[in-house]
């Protein structure tokens, strides 16, 4: 056997299963970038585990030549927590959708994030239920007409990033399925972060909700309607013609026509301990604002998996390794 480490290519991360998403689905692009990122980061197939719930996106693990668990609806975070807490050396990814993570799995989603288990959540947000053939989702805008809401949906949608930030997320990012370079960078950043990394990906469902993210994807509009976040840099978009400035506590868009200095703009700082800025950015929605993409927040916080294992180590140091004889004979005993 050669002692040289084999260098894996993106192809090595593809399983032998036929991919069964609809032709033209945004999931294909995410799958491709994931394989690229894992290969480029030198990850090992056997040390990588993909865990998903239910929905179109959740078929993802079947297509990766890694370990995988296609679990039950909404619960992927709980399976992942159990696995990562006991096998902290594994590289664990949770693949989920807007219905899976925010409706049926909303509880697990926030608790995984607050615990800061060292894994990555990739939420494929297409604002629709695809696999059940087209009902509105918890990220669908009010008034969305679907099979289950013929007169339009009436419930206020959730903002996935705002929810994650409120749940004490240590890493929050957003990307777009068709922006492959940005997506690749974002996935890599998520992987590098220690703690729960949450990435929302705008993903197009060309069957049931085609064009929902067109403003952020189409060549003609994306520069005007998205702003790429860079740590330590001012928020500038529309090919350098516009910027975001703070007016009191609220952001406002300004034209960079020479009257406004760059220093007056809002500068991004992903490392701020306080989540206010990340939250403010998460509230900037189309069409009032360009929607930020990139890393909103990346702060250091102790992880659940390292701490649960540290407690075991500490207990073994303090009380010595468990011994059944000692345990059974502890407390009051008597001899017959």
């Amino acid at each position: 056997m050669s002692t040289e480490l084999p260098v894996l290519s993106a192809k090595d991360f593809a399983s032998d299963q036929d991919v069964r998403w609809c032709p033209g689905c945004g999931d294909y692009s995410i799958l491709a970038q994931m394989k690229n990122v894992l290969a480029s980061m030198g990850k090992k197939q056997e040390e990588t585990v993909f865990i998903s719930g239910i929905g179109c996106s959740s078929r993802f693990p079947y297509y990766m030549n890694t370990y995988g668990l296609h679990s039950i609806h909404g619960r992927a975070p709980a399976f992942a927590t159990g696995l990562k807490s006991t096998r902290p050396e594994l590289d664990v990814w949770v693949i989920t959708g807007d219905g899976d993570a925010l409706s049926i799995g909303g509880n697990h989603f926030i608790h995984l994030i607050r615990r800061n288990v060292d894994l990555n959540i990739i939420l494929f947000n297409n604002s629709i239920y695809g696999l059940t053939k087209g009902q509105y989702s918890p990220t669908s805008k009010v008034g969305t007409k679907t099979k289950s809401t013929p007169m339009g949906s009436i419930d206020q949608p959730l903002n996935p990033l705002s929810v994650a930030i409120a749940a004490e997320a240590s890493f929050v990012a957003r990307s777009v399925d068709s922006n492959v370079k940005h997506l690749r960078t974002t996935l890599q950043r998520a992987s590098e972060h220690r703690g729960t990394s949450f990435v929302e990906v705008y993903q197009n469902c060309n069957i049931f909700n085609d064009g929902v993210w067109d403003y952020a994807k189409a060549k003609a509009t994306k520069d005007e309607s998205t702003v790429e976040l860079e740590h330590g840099k001012p928020l500038i978009y529309a090919k350098g013609n516009k910027g975001i400035r703070l007016n009191g506590f609220a952001p406002e868009t300004v034209d960079l026509d020479g009257k406004i200095a760059q220093d007056d703009l809002l500068f991004h700082d992903e490392k701020l301990e306080s989540p206010q800025l990340a939250y403010l950015l998460s509230r900037m929605r189309h069409p009032e604002f360009p929607e930020p993409i990139g890393v909103f927040r990346a702060v250091d916080r102790p992880t659940y998996d390292s701490q649960i294992n540290a407690q075991v180590d500490f207990a073994r140091e303090k009380n010595s390794r468990g011994d059944l004889k000692t345990l059974f004979n502890s407390g009051d005993t008597w001899t017959v």
Partner: protein
Amino acid sequence: MTSSAELFPPTKKPAESVSGVTVRLAGDSGDGMQLLGTQLTNTSALSGNDVATFPDFPAEIRAPRGTRAGVSGFQVQFSAEEIFTPGDGVDTLVCMNPAALITNIGDLRRGGILIVNSDGFGAKDLKLAKLDSNPLEDGTIEGFRTIKVPMTTMTRGAVEPTGLSVKFADRCKNFFAMGLVFWLYGRDVEPTLRFIENKFSGKPDIAEANRLALMAGWNYGETTENFASTFLVPAADLEQGVYKNVMGNQALAWGLIAAAELSGKELFLGSYPITPASDILHELSKHKNFGVRTFQAEDEIAAVCSAVGAALGGSMAITTSSGPGIALKGEGIGLGLILELPFLIIDVQRGGPSTGLPTKTEQSDLLMVMHGRNGDSPLPVIAAQSPADCFNVAIEAWKIATKYMTPVFILSDGYIANGSEPWKIPDVDALEKIEINHPGPRAEDDPPFMPYSRDENLARPWALPGTPGLMHRVGGLEKQDGTGNVSYDPDNHQYMVETRAKKVELVAESIGDAEVFGKSRGTLVLSWGGTYGACRTAVKTALADGVEVGHVHLRWINPFPANLENLLGQYDNVLIPELNTGQLRLLIKDKFLTNAIGLNKIKGKPFHVSEIVGKIKELSNG
């Protein structure tokens, strides 16, 4: 330092030897009756008696003081003979207030000793208990040997030297009652003095007050003319060995730890707090030095799912709950079943349906654990028969789970979980190892790994993430046999459903035959779970009365032992006593077409032996 024998001098009164005694302690939830009961139990066990206990407390932490709803009770039987229940009739009842008296007096046998805190029977106390007249004066206590003790006054007097406020002094009165009861039965105070020392190590004044109250109670017994004699319960003739008094949940936790050690695994518990299962979580979380990881999940669903995740990673994974929680876990258990991963699901049953009776016992989850999942989804089910038995059940369940690669259900109940009995500490070196094999790495030119290939037990390989060459994907969609790939093939689905069922049936080869106690003709008492003690005692009693009766106790309910059908055929009658409306009876009738007769109690309380004896006699005379 003065020795405890000087402070608690042995009685000079005559001691009457009795074979066994049942004592019940009843008071307000805040009166410390559970503590008193635990101390009496431990000290009786230490003096060599066989013991069995039954704590009975309200679901509310502090129900309104002095009310009937707030009454907390603890019953213990200690005996010179082998016993299986906390006793039917109460020999000595201690009551701290009118509510406790009125709700418990019905169980005190005629001529029994009633010790009351006479300071607790004022007009206000009577009103709180919704009583128009004082039961100490209106004839309620006629026929009992009543001893009225002004415990509150005497406790206050006793603890005065510590300078504690009245509020704190009054909290010591359970130790006064304890001192009196200990004196009455000649119990050793040493273990309780040690307990006080440890428990109140940071509060020397409280410790001293409790010691003084204990001593005052002891001396009161010796001084008062109300007691002419004390009672002596000689040591029981138990099997030789070192013993320890254990509660069911504790024994279960220790059994789980032992199973993990015996199989070379580290233990992961995913759990959500619920009565009466939480003590397993509490106990396990104390033993992290065994490599135990406990995860208090956000809900019951996350608890079971985290266990499945840990099982996927190769841990000994467990989830614990009670009925309402198990109902929520159904889908996650189903996934574990189709993944064919070993893990344990523990249901400590309580009264249902819905929230039901959280602190009361029942056996009404049997059909849920048998059938409460979507699809055809059988799982092995084992039930503990007593507090100490929980230890063995945990080990046995883990052996089956890993041998057959399947989740296994363990059933306990509130009666077992909180009850206690002597446990013969096993010889650790003699405990059988549990062998588990994980497939090793594969090279690229090896034949492809088949995650759903099967061995002679139909078990699939437990391949762990991190192993090179074994990468595979599993999930809730139907699997192709062998490859484990998603398959919608009709024949494969039928094959897989039948194979998973067959695997559970195969477990019968590993669990041994059912054994008959008593006669092999006449009436058969068939039982499972926590009713073991009442059924065994009832059958013993009926046998002694010349009735032709046998007892078969089921440890495994799925699958049934292979010889059960033959056994059933040997009897004229099959009686199935259950704390439900007849769930085992339904399974037995379905499987064997046996005309079994039920004895069904759904009161949140365990059987009285006499209830079962009565039914046995009714059947054998019929």
